[in-house]
Subunit: 459 residues, 2 copies
């Protein structure tokens, strides 16, 4: 006993000394990072260099293996060091508030509050109404006392109804406050700081925001208009390291409208399986598939996949904030824990409304959206803009000639038309904008006229 006590104290002293060494070395590393940042600034090169980073990562891995150390933990630690180096290097670069579809939406709302009329082509919020039964359900919910805490995963009725439709067990499902919270709770419950996710850009910014929030690093696989927004699977494969834990998919894609062909999807699922990665598939636009049939991730039966869906787009119920996630029982149970901590449960009247919507037809909505997208793309062709005809979803993502996106977006907003800057979906897309087809044709026509005028003015 006495011997153990003394030994404990001696070991603790050793811990103190080695901790101090680590602190000093980390400090040294940060000083070096600052110096490198200054030189990079002079040379005008990017702060983040994926290639150099990967070299560092590989050499740390080799060393970790050499001395018999836990690879995963070491990489997490390294990622935190890299992140801090990067932020030190970036410190003297001018910081601009990033513009996204949401910041533009907020600006548009403020202009409206000040009395301006704005055409909303920036936000993915259909203008058509939810099914009439949803309205009835709202009155009904009060009379029937449907306004209590529910099971964190959602009411049994709603879960069973969704589960039946999706052909899964109700324990594989959680009802979330919007698809967004499903993305959030999947990322924060499954990943740890210092791990990595791979996001295919252009992409809805929420994936990276949730990763940043959780201290998870985002690695970006860029896709190009020239390749019809198809991801390069060989490149994807090369990006996977031992700390890579998740691939995020979002098809039909926001903002490009792309749907992957089956062969590509097969290869991505295989890659995820082979490397034991989570596959987070955001399928909130699944109903809006025009050019080809959409095959969701659940069809692959891979237990580490998480499918995100929502009532927002299908039934035009954005403001009800009801979505759901389907995965394995184990993953749903982890996501449930996060949801219990954050919100207890989704508002019961909203779950009741979602239940009312579930049996209703949404094909009319799909038809409306297709015809609007056709209208927008026809107009864009007349303007000789370069874009890929969307396979699905609610957007067109054209390239803008001779002009950066934020300039165009701001000029258009001055003239009463809100569109989303392309760089909100990935910083290398400064020459794109996203046009949302969630307005009637007449409004879309007006908005596109304003866009044409602003582009012409400039050239």
């Amino acid at each position: 006993m006495m011997k153990d006590d003394g030994e404990l104290e001696a070991l603790r002293e050793k811990v103190r000394l080695v901790t101090a060494d680590i602190v000093r070395d980390v400090h040294k590393r940060m000083d070096l990072a600052r110096e490198i940042g200054e030189i990079k600034g002079r040379l005008g090169i990017d702060v983040r260099d994926e290639k150099v980073e990967q070299e560092v990562r590989n050499s740390v891995l080799a060393l970790a293996d050499d001395i018999g150390m836990n690879r995963e933990f070491m990489l997490r630690l390294l990622n935190i060091l890299l992140e801090e180096s990067e932020s030190l290097q970036a410190k003297r670069r001018p910081q601009v508030q990033k513009q996204t579809h949401l910041t533009i939406f907020m600006k548009a709302r403020q202009l409206e509050a000040a009395g301006r009329n704005i055409i909303h082509m920036e936000v993915g919020e259909p203008d058509y109404a939810p099914p009439a039964l949803v309205g009835d359900s709202l009155s009904d919910s009060f009379a029937r006392g449907k306004y209590h805490y529910t099971d964190t995963r959602g009411t049994m009725e709603l879960r069973q109804a969704i589960a039946k439709q999706a052909k899964v067990h109700e324990e594989q499902l959680i009802v979330t406050p919007g698809g967004r919270f499903g993305v959030f709770s999947a990322i924060v419950s499954l990943l740890r700081p210092g791990q990595e996710i791979i996001v295919i850009e252009p992409a809805w910014p929420a994936y990276r925001e949730c990763a940043d929030f959780a201290g998870v690093r985002t690695k970006v696989l860029k896709t190009r208009l020239e390749d019809k927004w198809a991801p390069d699977i060989r490149h994807l494969e090369e990006m996977i390291t031992p700390t890579t834990k998740m691939i995020v998919l979002n098809y039909p894609n926001n903002p490009t409208g792309k749907i992957l062909d089956n062969a590509t999807m097969d290869r991505i699922v295989s890659l995820a399986k082979d490397n034991d990665l989570f596959l987070l598939s955001d399928e909130v636009y699944a109903d809006y598939a025009f050019a080809r049939e959409f095959h969701g991730v659940l069809e692959y039966g891979y237990e580490n996949s998480i499918m995100i869906s929502s009532f927002s787009k299908r039934y035009a119920m954005t403001g009800f904030r009801v979505g759901y996630a389907i995965s394995s029982k184990e993953i749903i149970s982890k996501m449930t824990r996060v949801q219990a901590i954050g919100i207890t449960s989704v508002a019961e009247p909203m779950q009741y409304a979602a239940l009312a919507a579930l049996g209703e037809d949404h094909l009319e909505n799909v038809k409306t959206m297709k015809s609007r997208l056709d209208f927008v793309t026809r107009k864009l062709r007349e303007l000789s803009l370069n874009f890929v005809q969307p396979d699905g979803a609610m957007y067109v993502y054209p390239k803008i000639p001779n002009m950066d996106d934020v300039t165009l977006v701001e000029r258009m907003l001055e003239k009463g038309v809100a569109v989303a800057p392309g760089s909100g979906f990935g910083e290398s897309y400064k020459h794109f904008i996203r046009i949302s087809a969630c307005q009637p044709e007449k409004q879309l026509a007006k908005g596109l006229e304003v866009m044409a005028a602003v582009i012409k003015e400039r050239s």
Copy 2:
């Protein structure tokens, strides 16, 4: 240019060398942690030792200051090292699922789904109805198209109405999906991993859950029945360290019903000011104050305080999931960022319903609750149970003779009565239960009879 290139390469080589040193030292540290874990296992002592940990933290902070290094980053890094050490040390210890009012509520719901009748004295959910206007607003919301994305902070109408009532500017306010999300976003947006909050126990478990979620350490100030649940302010003062960043208050208290006297509240606010701490004051039971007037944190005008409120208890609107937080503009803006990442905005029909409730009278609810609490405490006195008469809120927290809480709770649940185990509010309260007075007297009477019988059986 050439010179810069060469310099860059030389610096990178130095980075590689120092990174390798860090890896080796971290490995050394983990080996030491493993050894310490083995000795602790032999001695049968806890893996986590707050005091030793605090010493390590303080010495790292001192060293960081000494060499001019970013404290916050160093604490994050240290936290990851400590966490890994702890998990290496804990690997072979058994894990028990903790019982709380929520786990019991879930069990009760499952029993109901299987056809059993359960008296709900475990959950803080009033049985009376929301104001009738709330029902009207639900039908109205659909007709008026109130089902869209709103400003992340809430609709202007609702924010202005709440701000007017609370006499603050609407920019000092955010509407949240329940008071819980206000607690969540305050903790995760204001604190960083490795920092600490102080929670006064017994306490609603959400504070600790949110802190755990954010990698924030919870330090507990215990209060005692013998002291009428008054916190020892001298002790509170001693607990504050350089990494302590927040004190959490919850008065009228869940579960004890305590309201602090003015002198105690004054001293706590002074302590927070003097030590530059956030003061998170969860005031969702503020309307239910019987024994003395309740003075909320906003009366102190301290800019680093965050007041949490909700429509749940005041208007019996638990299932609508609408709450709000009031603080400085800066703090609200940080909380807004978290809310934007997690949920976009609160469901608009629910915000509209909250707006309808806002002008309505809740005094009848308060009267009902007081009379029920009086009823429960009368009955408990007849049973000669030891408790403090609640000053407010909706609960009584009696001491249970000769029996641990979970045993009592499980026996009662078998007989159709759900109450909350005391240890759900702090592990040192295994001889208490929380009785919620949210049911009609007749039900409460039945529930208390069952309790009396179970206690008698045992003794």
